[in-house]
Subunit: 199 residues, 2 copies
DNA sequence: CACGTTCTTGACGTCGTGTCAAATACTCTT
DNA sequence: AAGAGTATTTGACACGACGTCAAGAACGTG
């Protein structure tokens, strides 16, 4: 066998960076190939298609992101955990300076939908998977908080609600680009869930 | 002047139908031209570009949608109004049978992002405009409800929260396609906002 | 050291967007 | 009523992107 002339993971990282910044549609395989110093054909050989490449790059990212979220949800009072969770959700929207959308939400709405109606099952599952796992993390935090008397309510329902707000924030961010407002919404949500209404 | 051989509004409707079903990316101007019985070049002459055509088609839809929302938010108890609002938000995701995503959320995440980072100012504003106006409608309903003692809290913050949940639902719908779950989240949100916690 | 397997490379086909100039059809003026 | 003007239509063209394929290249293995 002839050995590969590039590092699989490096290409995934480079590709994801581009996909994140310019969108899947706005990124051509030529762009990625140039950036990675790889021939375009080699990418097809190694990954199959543009969408498959994106999906692999996305799953790489999803792993890292989950770890960060888990850490954020693991220390302090329940309120602190939730605030940290929202914080990470909001700030991770941008990696350096310029705001870029949430990859999951972006990808979900941008991908597939080529022919019939929805997006391909593979892609859908990749995104749904991450969302499910994040929901589980939040639910665990809430359940633990319930035992400590920091929260009264249905952990499953509340977790789902929080995750929904999270996804909504990604959309609002793209529509208005107003980060302070996002934080206000997040704080308000935490108040609602923790039963401290008003402000 | 030579008169146009097609009806401007008809084309807008046909185009939006396609954009909604197959996504902006998944719809080619050839598709629309064929469906509308118009030459592709004529579309460019009349609308300028694919994105411009989508934006005009979208604004046409936005007007109709706003009217429907306003009606839903205008009758019954505050709780009934909010439920009706969420209902319309959820069911309007599909027009006939097959579930198609929320056009606003789809468009926001799919459009632009070609070069630098975000989407063009024109497009962003079109979406942000609809979201703002919907938020205003909800806020009005909440303010009225506050006077009637159906709601205590900050109408602006609550409206923003509700709209965020709404946008989140569009994402969740696309990830899981599970409509009953959407309704549960909606009901839970109404409970939270109206201060009837638990279930 | 040859063999085979995999990767690489460049050319090709197809499709989509957007532009342009020539032809066309209508209206308005005289 | 006829011609001039103007906007629309039409088809051809250029360009870029995705994906495929066959031929060449590089490495491990017997």
């Amino acid at each position: 066998m002839r050995p590969r002339e590039f590092d699989h993971d490096d290409v995934l990282r480079i590709a994801f960076e581009q996909f994140w910044r310019k969108g899947v549609r706005g990124t051509s395989l030529s762009d990625i190939a140039r950036d990675a110093g790889v021939q375009r054909g080699s990418l097809y050989n190694a990954f199959g298609s543009k969408e498959a490449l994106f999906l692999q790059a996305y799953e790489r990212y999803a792993g890292d992101y989950l770890v960060a979220l888990q850490k954020a949800l693991g220390a302090g009072s329940l309120r602190k955990r939730l605030i940290a969770f929202f914080d990470l959700t909001i700030t991770n929207f941008r990696s350096g300076t310029p705001p870029r959308g949430c990859p999951t939400t972006r990808g979900l709405m941008e991908l597939g939908a080529a022919e019939g109606e929805g997006l391909d099952e593979d892609a859908r599952q990749a995104f749904a998977n991450l969302i499910s796992r994040i929901t589980a993390l939040v639910q665990d935090a809430l359940s633990a908080g319930a035992k400590r008397g920091e929260f009264s309510g249905n952990p499953a329902a509340a977790a789902l609600h929080i995750i929904t707000v999270t996804r909504g924030l990604a959309v609002i961010e793209r529509a208005f680009g107003d980060e302070p407002q996002l934080r206000k919404i997040a704080a308000h949500t935490v108040d609602l869930v923790l039963d401290k209404r008003g402000r």
